[in-house]
């Protein structure tokens, strides 16, 4: 009897290779081993063949003199004294510039179009619908070529530049803007701006707390405008405008001085923003439609007007649906910026996997670095969006 009991309470004895836990660990070890062997095999094979074919390998090229020029440089760079490593950073910053501004433009445009598509105004919603269906069904490369050639062909030659009031010029070499130069005394304005921003944040937190406790609303918008814009402007006037401009000048061949916006940059930025905005519009529309109409009706029945209903009820719930697909649109935009190579914008791929790869001949290293960089950019973008997503996600109690 007692033996029967002990036999019944102890787990059934099975062979260790039939234990599901041990089995799953075993499979995972086997999979890892296969991956390690494959990677090791590929790396040693590559090194051996590169050596046998007398192809230079390693990362020594990084500190060698580059010797070529780049059309747009955000950091100091010269063909004379800069290295391939420096060229890499120039290319990376150019990629981040177009991706960063492109994400902002695409988001704004995408939200406007997505909301327009839900408008009760027939013309507005049909226009938005037409935009989305047209833009997202034409390959991006064609759109970039269209923008580049449209920008180039439509604008006049250097000698017939369009003079924009305020000292700017526009021609087929780009847009040339006056460059602000900060003179002594401008530091006070910067301090005023910082003070204004800090003051605004403090005020916003105070206003929010007070509203939570008493329900009374504070004039956040007018106070923030006064602190962030009016205060620095007042200091600027007090310091007698310590601000000068370097105006672009027409030279023998080109316009020199000022800020130069390349047509390649403009074409890439327009193309990427407009293309991605079409997808973001659909994401936004889906997000808003996902909020059940009962929520809006409930808000109205509580006496909320349409604007606060949208701001306090619909948007916060829609954002939970919007953020994850929006993240992938941001990643797409960043990755699509590699199409810059087709229109001659000096992004990372054009500069690094283009010129540097060719001048050094080290395809394996250069392509590996570039892939790692895009992986990193994508992971960081997605990390930031995930943090934001977890903050606005539904808190279940």
């Amino acid at each position: 009897m007692s033996t029967d009991l002990s036999a019944g309470s102890a787990p059934a004895r099975v062979a260790f290779y039939n234990d599901p836990r041990i089995r799953s660990i075993g499979y995972q070890i086997a999979l890892c081993a296969v991956i390690v062997v494959l990677v090791y095999g590929a790396v040693t094979n590559a090194i051996e063949h590169l050596q046998r074919a007398h192809i230079a390998s390693g990362f020594g090229f990084w500190n060698n003199n580059a010797g070529f020029d780049i059309g747009q440089t955000l950091i100091e760079y010269s063909s004379q004294s800069s290295t391939y490593g420096r060229a890499f950073w120039v290319g990376l910053l150019n990629t981040l510039l177009v991706a960063g501004i492109g994400i902002v433009f695409a988001t704004v445009l995408g939200f406007v179009i997505g909301i327009s598509r839900l408008s009760k105004n027939w013309l507005l919603s049909k226009t938005a619908g037409g935009y989305v269906e047209t833009i997202r069904n034409i390959p991006l490369l064609l759109q970039l070529l269209f923008w580049y050639n449209a920008v180039l062909k439509a604008l006049p030659d250097m000698r017939d530049s369009i003079a924009v009031p305020g000292g700017a010029f526009l021609n087929n070499r780009g847009l040339f803007l006056p460059l602000p130069i900060f003179k002594t005394g401008f530091g006070a304005v910067e301090i005023a701006l910082v003070v204004g921003v800090i003051g605004f944040i403090v005020f916003a937190i105070w206003a929010r707390k007070r509203q939570e406790q008493t329900g009374r609303q504070a004039p956040v918008v007018s106070v923030s405008l006064a602190l962030v814009i009016a205060l620095p402007l007042a200091v600027l006037a007090l310091e007698r405008f310590p601000l000068g401009f370097e105006f672009p000048q027409a030279g023998r061949f080109n316009i020199t001085g000022g800020i130069e916006v390349l047509p390649e940059f403009a074409a890439l930025l327009f193309g990427l923003s407009i293309y991605t905005a079409a997808f973001i519009a659909e994401v936004v529309r889906a997000g808003i439609l996902a909020v059940s109409s009962g929520q809006v009706e409930a808000a109205y029945s509580l006496g909320l007007r349409p604007r606060p209903t949208l701001r306090l009820i619909v948007v916060p719930q829609a954002m939970r649906v919007i953020i994850p697909p929006l993240t992938s649109q941001y990643l797409n935009l960043t990755k699509n910026s590699t199409l810059a190579v087709a229109i001659g914008y000096p992004d990372l791929v054009q500069v690094f996997t283009g010129t540097v790869l060719n001048q050094t001949g080290q395809a394996v290293e250069v392509v590996a670095i570039t892939m790692l960089v895009y992986l990193t950019i994508s992971l960081v973008t997605s990390l930031l969006m995930n943090i934001y997503n977890s903050r606005i996600a539904l808190v279940e109690r």
């Binding site: 063949h49 590169l50 007398h54 080109n254 054009q350």
Partner: protein
């Protein structure tokens, strides 16, 4: 473009036969020669509407095919951009690279390839609009210049402006056709490439008569075919097909008189056409290898005039590319 480069890079990683010493055998087994060429440069490598390739580099590949197969049509041409050409050769996608490629020390030593000779002595020049009223490259201070990526041209451009203390704005494109299109659209004041290329590209401009080629030649650009490291027999074949074409011109052996030359008593000609000695067999080819080359493709002079010289639209003067005994520097060791 990036995808293509990545695939080629992977091909380099996994290519097992990359450094194989069996190129001739591989070519014979395959039944055709894979030749990496320029697909967009008139005079050097350009397919017409029917897909027939012509050009100076193209004819070198045809000459090699003729020497191996007795048939100049047994060539598969692979159009390569300046950027992708070396990777394509390294990975074994092409058997040789004949794509107006400048011979430099770093390319010869660190890319795992060997240049076999110079089939066109060139130098870099500039083309500008006549309306700019520029007569010399030294007047280009501050100009925008369109240039093709991954070329020695790109480096020479930076060097030249630096050496002459001038400013330049470079606008770089992946292919020559994009660069030329941007120049034509007014994006740049000047376009720069090898002088031979300028003559070819000028034909593609909307109004060729509005543009002039500046007199300065700012660099040495010895253009020649290249093969992979590690296959000396193949290296010899590519090298000697080119030499044979020059020697044939020197001995006045042409595609028209080749049948009479077979009866010649001149010992130099007899060695060339294979009626004396077995020089072709020493290379791994047949005794009549030079006959095959000249019969099907022609000697160097014929090929030059047909593709880039007076018989072509480019009408480039032979200049440096004349034979050594006619005032140029094209010179080939003797076949013996």
């Amino acid at each position: 473009m990036k995808k293509f480069a990545s695939i080629l890079a992977l091909a380099v990683i996994f290519a097992a036969q990359a450094a194989s010493a069996q190129t001739l055998k591989t070519v014979k087994d395959r039944g055709s020669l894979n030749c990496g060429s320029n697909g967009t440069l008139a005079g050097f490598g350009l397919p017409d509407a029917q897909g027939n390739w012509t050009g100076l580099d193209v004819d070198l590949c045809r000459a090699i095919a003729a020497a191996i197969f007795d048939d100049p049509a047994k060539v598969k041409f692979v159009a390569l951009t300046a950027k992708d050409r070396f990777t394509a050769l390294q990975s074994g996608e092409v058997d040789l690279l004949a794509r107006n490629t400048t011979w430099t020390s770093s390319r010869d030593t660190s890319l795992g390839l060997n240049f076999t000779g110079v089939n066109y002595y060139d130098g870099q020049g500039f083309i500008v609009r006549k309306a700019l009223k520029v007569n010399s490259a030294l007047e280009l201070n501050g100009a925008s210049v369109c240039v093709q990526q991954g070329t020695t041209t790109e480096l020479n451009l930076a060097d030249y402006f630096r050496a002459n203390k001038m400013q330049v704005k470079t606008v770089t494109f992946a292919t020559s056709s994009e660069s030329v299109k941007a120049y034509d659209a007014g994006r740049c004041d000047a376009y720069t490439t090898d002088a031979s290329g300028l003559y070819g590209e000028r034909l593609r401009l909307a109004n060729a008569a509005d543009h002039i080629i500046l007199p300065e030649i700012i660099s040495k650009e010895p253009l020649g075919p290249a093969v992979r490291h590690g296959d000396d027999q193949w290296f010899d074949i590519v090298k000697w097909v080119h030499f044979a074409m020059i020697d044939a011109e020197e001995l006045n052996i042409t595609s028209k008189n080749i049948s009479e030359m077979l009866k010649s008593d001149n010992p130099e000609i007899k060695r060339m056409v294979g009626t004396e000695g077995n020089f072709g067999e020493q290379l791994g080819l047949s005794k009549d290898w030079v006959v095959r080359i000249v019969k099907h493709v022609g000697n160097y002079g014929e090929v030059f005039e047909r593709n880039v010289g007076q018989g072509s639209l480019l009408k480039i003067d032979r200049g440096l590319n004349r034979l050594w005994n006619k005032g140029g520097i094209q010179y080939a060791p003797p076949v013996r």
